[in-house]
Subunit: 376 residues, 2 copies
């Protein structure tokens, strides 16, 4: 059970961290806070007193309570050398993130840094909590994989606050456009393009595409999918595209595909471009039940070149993802930014050019010429 003064305290801290209150700005008066939270003056003063003691606020009698400037103080704290870096991902255990985390951890621990991990579960609210935690502690740098990157982010202010406190951060896999942060991403549009191009060059003309549309990767890959069709003059039936959101990943895409392939109005799909390898595994289960052959009846191109490509019976054609290399590069970049910051004392997050990984296709057994025999 949370205490009232703690609620007030956290609310004020939030307002400080998301930039509602800027340094030296006056915060709401005690009576305003009393009304706002429907608590007694005593409770408000208790909350404010705590924050004053911790150096978040300062009071001036007769004038008001003000947001403190915690930046100057930062230096003194940093004198105590504690090298700490935060990694925020959407999911810790799923899929390719462990590789990314491992890559980053190996570099960072070698450089004497300690790595703290956080996962948002692709939820903006959780992301906010994590950013608040990071802002209230002495982190030297942050590596973040954006949550629901296709949508505008309600936590932009927290990232701006990182900049204000000159804590370097970089984004991997995707980035929030508004921030123009240093980032390490794939050229996902090109990735989607070469996935599709590969099938087109094998003679496929009726190609289904399944894309996750709540992150930037998915929307970009879909863009590449469309572009390839246009480039090669292949007419694209809008019904060939299936989109889904993270929460639906276990159900909707496979259900929709089942409809597309096996319902009465089924069309003669011969190729499939998948958002990623993980999804292909679900698709393969469906096809196995329906006695459909891969690649005989359906050629499939995955994305990420994950371990799935090797363990399934049909080795999967897939787009290579840098994975642990990306993690390592991210780690090196953040170390570089920290070094620059400590020498220049200026915000350099945006001085570096984003690193864009060019995708390349790893052709394996899951794709063949349309109607054709396995190439192997």
């Amino acid at each position: 059970m949370e205490t009232k003064y703690n609620m007030v305290k956290r609310a004020i801290q939030s307002d400080i961290m998301d930039g509602t209150y800027l340094p030296h700005q006056k915060i709401s008066s005690e009576s305003e806070l009393m009304a706002q939270f429907k608590v007694s003056r005593h409770t408000v003063r208790l909350a404010i007193g705590d924050l004053v003691a911790k150096g978040w606020l300062y009071r001036e009698q007769g004038s008001g309570t003000f947001c403190a400037d915690r930046e100057e103080e930062q230096d003194t704290i940093q004198a105590v050398e504690r090298k700490n870096i935060a990694i925020i991902t959407t999911y810790i255990s799923d899929y390719i993130f462990p590789s990314i985390i491992r890559g980053a951890e190996s570099i960072l621990s070698q450089a004497g840094y300690q790595v703290s991990i956080f996962s948002t579960n692709n939820d903006h609210e959780k992301e906010r909590e994590i950013l608040e935690k990071i802002l209230s502690q002495p982190f030297d740098g942050v590596i973040v994989e954006p949550t629901k990157s296709a949508f505008s982010n309600p936590n932009i202010n927290y990232y701006l606050n990182l900049e204000r406190l000159s804590i370097p951060y970089i984004m991997i896999n995707a980035y929030y456009d508004e921030l123009e942060p240093m980032s390490l991403v794939m050229n996902d549009e090109k990735g989607g393009f070469i996935q599709t191009e590969h099938l087109i060059q094998l003679g496929h003309t009726e190609i289904a595409g399944i894309f996750k549309t709540d992150d930037l990767q998915g929307t970009q890959r879909m863009k590449g999918f469309l572009k390839a069709h246009r480039r090669y003059g292949i007419p694209l039936n809008p019904k060939n595209i299936i989109t889904y959101h993270t929460e639906e990943k276990e159900t909707k895409p496979v259900q929709e595909l089942e409809k597309m392939l096996f319902s009465e109005e089924a069309r003669d799909i011969t190729g499939l471009v998948s958002y990623n390898d993980e999804l292909v595994m679900n698709v393969l289960n469906l096809l196995r039940n329906k006695r459909m052959q891969v690649p005989g009846d359906l050629s499939i191109v995955g994305y990420d070149d994950s371990f799935f490509t090797e363990v399934s019976e049909v080795k999967l054609t897939s787009v290579a993802h840098p994975k642990s290399d990306m993690g390592k590069a991210a780690a090196k970049t953040i170390l570089d930014l920290i070094k620059r910051k400590n020498s220049n004392k200026v915000n350099v997050s945006k001085q570096l050019e984003p690193i864009v990984y060019d995708p390349s296709l790893i052709v394996r057994g899951s794709t063949v010429k349309v109607g054709g025999v396995e190439v192997s």
Copy 2:
């Protein structure tokens, strides 16, 4: 004009400075101070609150207010605000550890703790470095998966130091016998037993076993493998057993198996007990090249019930591993230990009984009656 609470404050400070109150000694209770200075309780609390914030005193509900030991102030002041837990695993990204880490992270972050991760790469030297780092920082608890747990550990002293500093730690998957720590492990001997028993009950008598012998899990599973043979009166040819160390995992076990199955002195092996599912994947690749059918020609039992069991064409019979449940349980246990420590001020690491997970076999398509048809 001096305020009342300031008088009380200065009086207490004086008593601390002139040695009337020694570190960790209980000071007068609030009601005593009320009488002594003839002020209200609120005023006393205001004075004490100030001194607590400045680190001169600390309060314990139900017990009293105590003089702080300002020698160790640096440590305590950080420890109070920073709820930090370390997780040490052998490998961060491989296999089932991501699930364990995720399970632990979800519980710990919910409890407001921050999770720092370290990986030893199964190397004692790296483990030592990590333990040194942890000992020099304010961690509240440590969850550790032992490195090379089958061997005696050269870093025992570091763990004893954790105990001396009363930092709770627990071990998962295995434990160093000398320490008798709180641990969460599987009954690996029983696991190896039921793997083998399953094949025996299907009529197999020539069963190969592959075990990793540098961790406790592997040696225990091998023990179960032997026990099952004895129990059922099946003679066991020592040549049916292959052992390997972590560094050899990509080469030796498969090479040895190839020799066992396909060389001139090959024997008629019909069943295979594998240290884990990951290894089975390598085995399956070998068998595919050799055009050997699973389960038709060889029945295979894996261990860990990992994602591999579901993605391969032949669904794998395997022993269930608690994975993220184990991570969650580990997190809850360490939180419990921290709570006890903060209340009792004694080392309680060893007061809890180790949690042992009983293994259970998940039967899928990779095992059939000897010489028989697939059961499906």
